[in-house]
């Protein structure tokens, strides 16, 4: 780079200032978590708490199911729209953006209103509520999943690939399974990781549906304990970091751009 030394220095300063802003809260949490007696007690306590494991496991499983359902709905839809119904695309996109606009608390109340009366009385049972939770999370994942898959489809020129497959005699199922899905690996992973991050961190919907997810758990101990929440926060941050790191690693060398933006 032919950047003059002087301006490069300026950018180094900008970078370091930015990084320290990010690092501070994490450091603060870390040091706080070490103030327990003994020093690692915050971590051991939380790791010993069955509530921690149960809620984390629960959220994880819910997350995985959400991802699976979301992929099964979104990928064929995005594929079909791109290939056969391009005029429908703006409308579908609009629908997938709706979850951005509707606050989660409204969504959950809407769901409660809709599904706590016959004929679809889901809220009465645990399984029913679990189903509702997954459904809500799938909806929440739509913006990210759809955007990721749609831009992936654009990159791989899905039309040409499909025509090539068809000329070689492949049927729709085979095309989806052996051509489209493998080529969308990075996009799907990108959407998947984002969905997982959202699910694991989500609080409002889980609380109002009475589910023992990780979000409500953290809130609970946040109000009750001192050092465990700090440990819990860092652990959840670490898990997300590892997930993102894996995603970047897998996405390296791929033509598709890895989307990692989230919200809330």
């Amino acid at each position: 780079m032919n950047q003059p030394k002087r301006s490069r220095l300026v950018w180094w300063v900008v970078f370091l200032v930015g990084v320290s802003y990010f690092a501070l809260p994490l450091l603060g949490t870390f040091f706080f978590s070490l103030q327990a007696q003994p020093i690692y007690a915050g971590y051991t306590n939380i790791l010993k708490d069955p509530g921690f494991y149960n809620s984390l496991l629960y959220s994880f499983i819910v997350g995985l199911i959400t991802i699976a359902v979301s992929i099964l709905i979104i990928v064929p839809t995005a594929f079909w729209v791109r290939l056969k119904l391009p005029w429908l695309r703006p409308y579908i996109e609009f629908i997938t953006l709706l979850p951005f606009v509707v606050p989660p608390i409204i969504l959950v109340f809407g769901l409660l209103n809709t599904y706590s009366h016959p004929p679809f009385r889901l809220t009465a049972s645990n399984t029913g509520s679990d189903v509702l939770l997954v459904a809500a999370y799938v909806i929440l994942s739509f913006p990210y999943m759809y955007r990721a898959v749609d831009s992936g489809l654009r990159t791989i020129d899905v039309r040409t690939l499909t025509e090539a497959s068809q000329s070689l005699g492949a049927g729709w199922v085979r095309i989806m399974w052996q051509v489209i899905f493998p080529n969308l690996r990075v996009s799907i992973l990108s959407g998947a990781f984002l969905t997982l991050a959202i699910v694991v961190g989500e609080y409002t919907i889980a609380t109002f549906l009475g589910r023992h997810a990780f979000g409500p758990y953290l809130s609970l101990i946040g109000g009750n304990k001192a050092y465990e929440p700090a440990a819990g926060s860092l652990i959840s941050f670490g898990i997300t970091w590892i997930a993102m790191g894996l995603l970047t690693l897998i996405g390296r060398g791929s033509r598709q751009r890895v989307q990692v933006a989230g919200a809330r």
Binding site: R8, W87, A263
Partner: protein
């Protein structure tokens, strides 16, 4: 939104024939209807009901009610926080992104920052709120460090559980979100534009003023809008950190179930107001996106 000819078969008379392909998107549409559109439509229905279920438009009238803890204050506070963190996040995010992309720093820093930004922009809600408490709370790491250095921020009126504190916390995920959104646009600033401008005799300042910023402006504004929407809808963080700060999502929460005087109808109306505001923001964003795409082929 142009209806392109492909995929939609039309008869000579111009009417669109029923295209069986549309069945392919049926699963999606059914799912969206069942779990999104119908529940969300309660928004409208519920906003027109009072506590007894009778029809009323009072809720909408109440939206502009003044007073502490009231809807107007909630909207204004929400808008203020969202706008402040959107603009601040946009500026800071842009600077940081530019630093690692075009600032002459080692390439490895760029991918590290991008990964971190991906994590940080999702680090919202309760863990983030707690993290800030641990850093800037009355016994937080940073507070104590400053106190040892002789500066007591709490004495000068700083409160984490306040509007300002909320802004500080929101910035934590706004900032990296901006980095992620603006990075491709900065990439799109071709090196030869910079060289051409230098060749024409322009200084760095003139390059930014006449070329780089005008080119980036639509994307910058669009990203700021996206950040605005992001902050506007964020609720869990606020609830955890500062339930006493009156912002719209929190108020909705109270109306739905928390407050003794709760009025679900008002909650729904509040939500419609939020949706309207968000909708405008998103619309403006996509208009700007289209404009910037036109230049950057």
């Amino acid at each position: 939104m142009p209806a392109s000819a492909r995929g939609a078969s039309s008869t000579r008379s111009g009417r669109r024939r029923f295209n069986p392909s549309i069945l392919g998107v049926l699963p999606f549409l059914i799912f969206a209807f069942a779990f999104l559109i119908i529940p969300a439509s309660y928004l409208v229905i519920g906003s027109l009901q009072d506590k007894t279920g009778a029809f009323t438009t009072q809720n909408y009238a109440d939206l502009t009610k003044d007073g502490v803890g009231g809807p107007r204050e909630a909207y204004l506070t929400s808008i203020e926080i969202s706008a402040v963190t959107a603009i601040a996040g946009a500026i800071l995010g842009f600077l940081l992104a530019y630093a690692v992309i075009s600032g002459g720093l080692p390439k490895a820093l760029r991918s590290g920052l991008m990964t971190f930004s991906g994590v940080a922009s999702n680090f919202a809600g309760i863990p983030l709120a707690l993290a800030f408490v641990f850093t800037l709370g009355s016994n937080g790491l940073f507070t104590v460090l400053l106190r040892d250095a002789g500066i007591n921020i709490y004495d000068s009126g700083f409160k984490l559980y306040s509007k300002f504190g909320l802004e500080l916390v929101y910035l934590y995920f706004q900032f990296p979100l901006m980095v992620l959104i603006i990075a491709p646009a900065i990439d799109g600033l071709r090196k030869d534009w910079r060289e051409a401008s230098e060749n024409m005799g322009a200084s760095t300042f003139q390059y930014w003023r006449y070329i780089a910023l005008p080119i980036l402006l639509p994307t910058l504004m669009g990203s700021t809008l996206l950040l605005f929407g992001n902050a506007f809808g964020a609720q869990a963080t606020a609830f955890q950190l500062a339930p006493l700060v009156n912002i719209a999502p929190v108020l909705i929460g109270k109306q739905m179930s928390g407050d003794v005087l709760h009025n679900p109808g008002l909650g729904y109306a509040l939500a419609i107001g939020m949706v309207a505001i968000m909708g405008v923001a998103i619309l403006a964003y996509s208009v700007l996106q289209r404009r910037s795409e036109r230049w950057m082929r």
